[in-house]
Symmetry: C2
Subunit: 359 residues, 2 copies
């Protein structure tokens, strides 16, 4: 696909966080929850993952205003054991429930070595990788996942059966930034088909099926009763069932089609989805210095692997994102036009001033 | 690919288990360890996964005789916490160390809700799904994985960088058999390329790369310095790093190329790989009756999904394998010719009598 001409403008991380906090507090979100949410969204932007960054701010604000997200929600522990909890997020902003849950998983893992915290009655939590990375910052292996309204078909079926349930993990890696993978369980994200459709392009036949369940190169078929395919066929399908189980079946959250659609369903109704967070306290299991040295060796070995023709460099998972973040911390984040449009509209709607560099 | 004419012979599960126990005890494996190993291998055969079933028996016997697998090994706990342990399997038969580890994970999860048990100095453990299913039989969600000698390349590289590390999970599913997925993290198993090469067929270009790291449709390139590709590109690559970490980095096992090759390396040397087992005690977190009803609803919903043209039935992960096992429990297992050849040769080598039906 040819690169499109895009207009971008650059904003400092702190400025974008402050704007995000102001926008959220303007609709009644408590300051600390606003900051939790802003940090998650802006960190994701700084990784260059703009689909899951501050672009979500207007939709979050809209749902808070309509009541589908509750600004005054306080996540509560429903059931609890030595190495696990189940939380009811109370229809809080997804980031608020997720921060509560992962922090609890980390605290419990400090005692028992590892912990699972499942969440019901939560909402879109942005990038799963942000929550996994939160554990890695504390010297733990973090895993984060959620279910979602169905968008994927499965082998033998037509139509949408399971969500393209995101799954992420992060591993502290010594002097290297954490190894970090954040993936959906569909072959590609729906956004790629949307973009191809807008450009009038075809797509590989294994990305999606039409309304009859037949593979198609026409990206518009996805939006006319079609469905995404699962990553690697039965493997992505199976992993999606695992994520559905840990996020929703085991937490009492809404399962599959019972989850409302974040993008299109009524903003006054909670989406009711589930999420799950796992933390493994590396330092409890192996001296952290030894683990770090072993991870460094693995990362160094991967970096040093012979390269294929045309390959300039081998990346470990997450490395590109951490490099983009490091650059953003000094040079700021170059937000693409679609994100700028959303933020400018939000600024007008709420009468909250944008940072000058992107106003 | 056209089905090949194959010769098979049918054996009862109990008869094949008894033969396997006799073969193992004939080379000095204690009766209980022999039974543990035999049950794992024969259950895998009964699922129809003949690549990981009793076909491995001759190689196991060969390594026990040569000393690379220790018949007298007793897995020992190296370090231990409330919800985790690290085990040194002492170069025991892979199934012996794995049974010890998963049983320990299950016992710990009964107390804390979930547990991780990592294993170093272990060996090929057969089908990862067998260990996951062991937890599901106890009402737990089970996860099992191991690292392996590199066979996969990764994006940007050429040559073999990571193992096609197996990863499996099983979920108790009420009146349905456990949802069960057992996958390698390569696009396909090397055995598929071997079979295509023997038949003089080409393979899809995304299955493997040649010695220059270029995609190839020639299956023989894999065996001339080529490598398997990772499932779904960066996703399978990332998951392989996670499995490597939990199985080997965190357990003190041999990592990547330090693991000897089960198939080709000297049989008198331990392969030194690692494995990891996780058990989540569903009944601690949610009343089992409620969880079972919720899983049944999910499975029923998947079964009832609209079918694509030509699709006669939608399977949940593992369903085909459990149906094959149910059939095998009455009708016996129809072993394919390659497995029969191996077992007949072993019977002659050890002077241990085969069950009459396959002799």
């Amino acid at each position: 696909m040819k690169a499109q001409a895009t207009v971008s403008a650059t904003v400092q991380i702190g400025d974008l966080e402050r704007f995000s906090v102001s926008a959220l507090t303007a609709v009644g979100v408590p300051e600390s929850d606003a900051l939790t949410t802003a940090r998650a969204l802006v960190t994701t932007d700084s990784w260059g993952i703009f689909t899951h960054g501050s672009k979500a701010l207007p939709r979050t604000v809209r749902r808070v205003r309509a009541g589908g997200l509750r600004a005054d929600a306080v996540p509560t522990v429903i059931t609890d054991g030595p190495a696990w909890s189940v939380i009811d997020a109370g229809a809080a902003i997804g980031q608020v429930g997720s921060a509560f849950a992962m922090q609890r998983a980390i605290a419990k893992a400090r005692v028992t070595g590892l912990a699972y915290v499942g969440v019901r009655n939560t909402a879109h939590f942005g990038a799963a990788g942000y929550w996994a990375a939160m554990a890695a910052e504390q010297g733990m292996i973090g895993v984060a996942m959620s279910n979602d309204h169905p968008s994927m078909t499965i082998p033998g079926a037509k139509g949408r059966v399971l969500g393209n349930n995101p799954l992420a993990f992060a591993i502290p890696s010594g002097r290297h930034p954490p190894v970090l993978l954040d993936m959906a369980l569909s072959t590609v994200a729906g956004g790629k088909l949307w973009a191809a459709m807008k450009l009038g392009k075809t797509v590989p036949a294994d990305w999606s099926v039409d309304s009859d369940g037949k593979p198609t190169t026409d990206p518009s078929a996805l939006f006319a009763g079609g469905a995404l395919t699962s990553m690697a066929g039965h493997k992505g399908y199976g992993l999606a069932v695992l994520v559905e189980t840990l996020s929703a079946v085991l937490t009492g959250a809404a399962v599959t089609s019972q989850v409302l659609e974040w993008f299109v369903d009524r903003p006054d109704l909670p989406t009711k989805g589930g999420a799950a967070f796992i933390a493994i306290d590396v330092g409890a299991i192996m001296p952290m210095r030894e683990f770090a040295a072993r991870m460094e060796k693995l990362v160094d070995e991967i970096h040093a692997a012979p390269r294929s023709a045309g390959s300039e460099r081998i990346y470990v998972p997450g490395e590109m994102e951490w490099e983009r973040r490091a650059q953003a911390q000094t040079a700021g984040i170059a937000l693409p036009e679609d994100v700028l449009d959303e933020l400018r509209q939000l600024s007008r709607d709420l009468n909250v001033e944008l940072p000058a560099s992107i106003a």
